[in-house]
Symmetry: D2
Subunit: 356 residues, 4 copies
């Protein structure tokens, strides 16, 4: 249904950038899981503003409070309500855009669709909404203890991590500010962002996500193919412009003979250009995909724009903004992937009477 | 919900490659539309096998029969049931794969998930399912008479249509077998496919889709962003490996200053790197996106594979198959786009009390 | 979602009384069930017109054809499409109501809502739609082999089956035309209906349904309570005016001391005024409920009515109609109950990690 | 979907009796409505414990805080998040039931389904959940300013308000503690409840709800008939045992000739035994229905019961409980009715292209 993430396991959310709070409700989360709250806070901290020199310097504690659905440290099977209170908003920073439309923001479209908008900090269109997703994803991860979901920054501007994911040491993702496990590339990315930031400019990038140990059979044949649910989730992230999995856009240049992914006798496959999915259903190999993010639209320079009546105005990027969205988007990508997998994992428990 | 396309306007489907029929039910289609049945058959004919030398030579009439929801030539507002009977199946062609797993097909994953599978022609995993989507999309197009949805083949293997879509004459899309409006590129693509076909091989490609005249306001802010619903629909197409819209993966290399899409005084924008969508909501500019398709997995050569027990077997690509999926996928991409837009267009009628 | 029965296991349907066919699609039906087609036809025969002297004398074979989702006699886990072709329609019988509104029918409301209607035989509003539900319910019953779902006629007009269900021999339900297991009451009911029929009149009645052996735990705590899903399904049946379960409306006259349902030491309960459900979740005791049906609106006498412009007309009940809906509604009630239980039974497989 | 109220307009909720807070998220509420917060608090006050001598003496302020979706006093079209903090819980009152199962409560079914339960105050199974529904319903009422939704207590035990609703003065509903507009009957009901309370017992009752001025056309033909959506909502209310609309169970005793609801020349009908709905769609006449509530299960007397192991225990009704649920359920019934109507009202804006 509109505006709900997931099907069986599902998430509804609320919150605006400068409202009182963000929060959400997770429906149909199974009972009996002992929740590790530190792990949830750990994921929130990875997304948090102010965590390093290359992200926005806003300071928010981003602490989640669970209001229901957990009793004596365990999930009860009833809806999990949670809330993250907003703090440190500087709404005054936004008075200048109450009547102006910032380029490449949602100001104009919200105004036209809804007749008005909460303009403070982008209101509902703010990427702060993703904080809700990280809470839900961190819980979903705990539901899937055997599945490993790791994302990393695979490019910033034209600096690419050229090594394939198999050649990378994922334990190093958190060892640098940009979350690229190749330290040499990471350094280049970081200095590129610092440069860009100094100019008051911003820059795009990509994130690669790898999911290991998904059992065979996760994904539904029609309209809920695993890759389709992943793509939908990713394209909902603010600034996301593209999704590809397995061979992706490169696969479109190949021939069948090159691309076909031959079986080994243990049912694993040889090239995994398939990206761990066949016919919308996981095949037991690594699932991997890549997500493109455009540069953040708010730049700290004057830009020509228009107001509500179409008159020319100059908008200035005030406030504290990210020069590049990808380091903070890493936990968001992982969280959405975890939630999507968990949803399809749950329905899969019902799909074959011989597995009951 | 799982396995349902759309939200308010929604489609459920059935059918397997060698079953008796395909078909579907369209729910909540508005009443009062005079249906142009020829236009629906026209779209089916564009998808049909056997229409040219570069597609599969199977012959099927692919005629849709409407069973309900239309009376006196007009939609009645009640569910539209339709059926397309299968013909010309050569199930014998598939006996050899009853116990074998073809590389890069869904044979293995279906067997593991469901315990068994209809192996004839791929059963449910066959791309013949898309015939249902074309019926639904052709109806959705008629619901949106002012909106123009045009897709074309933008690459085959490494042959790209280099011109931007604005430089192309869309009236020429149907003028050649490959459905590329640039006739010079089209010729190259066609000869590449003929070459590949002669080798018993297959090749991938991409499709670009452009949607004009979508009114401002179509798309929902959270989890049903217009691009997210489009991505989900596209990634459900067999062989689809990626989706990008607007600046797409290229946008990830750019800076904010380059990428920002400045307004004109009439609320149109200058670069439209945004791809006609801001914050998940259409902004009135052209919506455009690109979809990647891998090469068809069935090649007409012997391939090493395994059987259900993991023993080595040789599978041979029998049957009649497409050397390249993209020319026939053009109407599929358009159809899904039309359905997604129609669904979000309908809910938009309810979202603002001042528009009632 | 609107116009879909069920949640995880779900049914969408199509068909109008005088259209080409009825049919439906069952989504997410588990794989691996060996389908007993005779049992499905048996249920359709119980619902069929023309089966006895006290129901409509229309003759229809009401044969279902499965078009997908079943292979080698077993469900495949993919959507089950089915169709029942219409025959023996006498559309001419309905020309007289194309512009008139029959009292207590949906003619007026359909016309106002949708701007027009298929008036032949009531079109979409015809109770023939329930044929789809019987197919789906007959499959759902087979998914729940240990659960027994039995409905019977508990009243016709003011003739009530006074015995509680525990005192009845359910094996006698099919032993008479009215489907009341108490043969003495059955006779009275039958002669009452014959009388009414002779007058060209119709009469209402109630059906009681008893469901045994539902395991503890079926039903969801909020908004999908077992009784709520049952009530919704039943109130969708044409002519249904009410639903009560357990103590029902009588329970509203009782005190807590009388009504409370004390436990036995084996967790069974003593009075089962609860009706087998506590907090929306099955408690292992018999689930029982009662459904009220108004008299069929089509009577074979002239009635004063109006046409589309509000002018007075006389409408005559032509065609072949049921004098009392309840004997044929028995399998419909059972079918919907089976489908609702199966849906909640399936999700329950996912709700507690200790049961995986 | 499971555990979600509504379809297009939908509500998800959270909260347990002795958790930190209740709350919910309303999705797809239209933009542009000026919210009257006093009216929302007024409805909450009608539901509030401690408001009179015949309801529970718990004291809770029951104040709702809106966290999102409303800006400058108007709905923004984005999700409306709200919270009601719990206070005045006396969790100690419930320690005695941590291991015992109270008769006719959900203790046993929750434990079996979920493996454990929040036993304090009934946890999720507490009727305090309905506070969320009143918030959502109060907003839905404001969306439908021309529609009047009034519920009243029509029976307590065997004391019935014999007058038909047309003979009652609805402005008197709030003039007495029991919310029965017939003051003579109200007095009898109140003294009956006082009597029952003195005995430490409880008693059941019914509520009648009347909805005026619903435009013709609200309700969907299949599976979302107006009466079906109403029934589902009502049967989700704690203690609800039955639902009937229009002629209801009495209609099952009538003949077609008596029951048929003849048209007047202005398309109104004469008897309205139909209850304002034909074929699942509103016909412009008053919609009326009746809901049965069993007596509250918690009685202030010792009762025989069992513990988790099946050993005999005595449970004592401690805490502060309602002797009769119906006076406080009146705003709950109205709220759910308002929400259901609003949901179907919104989709109806999309169902006929001639009304766009």
């Amino acid at each position: 249904m509109f505006n709900i993430l997931g099907n069986l396991l599902n998430l509804t959310t609320f919150g605006e950038s400068h409202g009182l709070a963000y929060g959400g409700i997770i429906n149909n989360f199974p009972a009996g899981l002992t929740v590790d709250f530190d792990k949830i806070q750990y994921e929130l901290d990875r997304r948090k503003p102010g965590q390093s020199a290359i992200v926005t310097q806003r300071k928010e504690s981003d602490t989640v409070k669970f209001l229901s659905g957990i009793f004596d440290g365990k999930t009860t099977g009833t809806p999990i309500g949670f809330i993250i209170e907003n703090e440190n908003q500087k709404s005054k920073d936004y008075d200048h855009i109450a009547n102006s439309y910032r380029p490449s923001h949602a100001d104009f479209t919200y105004d036209k669709k809804f007749g008005a908008r909460d303009y403070r900090g982008g209101g509902k269109s703010s990427a702060r909404e993703t904080i809700n997703w990280v809470v839900a994803g961190a819980l979903a991860k705990q539901l899937l203890p055997d599945i490993e979901i790791k994302a990393y920054v695979s490019s910033v501007g034209d600096i690419f991590c050229e090594k394939p994911y198999q050649a990378l040491d994922f334990s190093k993702i958190e060892s640098n500010e940009i979350r690229c496990p190749d330290s040499e590339t990471a350094e280049k990315m970081i200095s590129r962002i610092k440069e860009i930031k100094k100019e008051g400019n911003t820059i795009g990038g990509t994130i690669t996500c790898v999911i290991k140990n998904v059992p065979v059979g996760v994904g539904e044949p029609i309209f809920s193919k695993l890759q389709a649910e992943l793509a939908k989730a990713m394209l909902n992230i603010n600034a996301c412009k593209g999704f590809e999995y397995g061979s992706g856009f490169c696969g479109a240049k190949m021939t069948g003979k090159e691309h076909n992914d031959l079986f080994n006798s243990d049912f694993s496959t040889q090239s995994n250009l398939s990206g761990g999915i066949q016919g919308g259903i996981s095949n037991g190999m690594d699932i991997y995909f890549r997500v493109a993010f455009k540069p953040v639209a708010t730049i700290l320079r004057p830009q020509d724009s228009i107001d509500k009546e179409g008159n020319p105005v100059i908008v200035e990027g005030k406030g504290r903004h990210d020069p590049c969205v990808v380091p903070r988007a890493v936990p968001i990508v992982e969280s959405l992937a975890a939630f999507v997998i968990a949803d399809l994992f749950l329905i899969n428990k019902t799909r074959n009477i011989h597995n009951w």
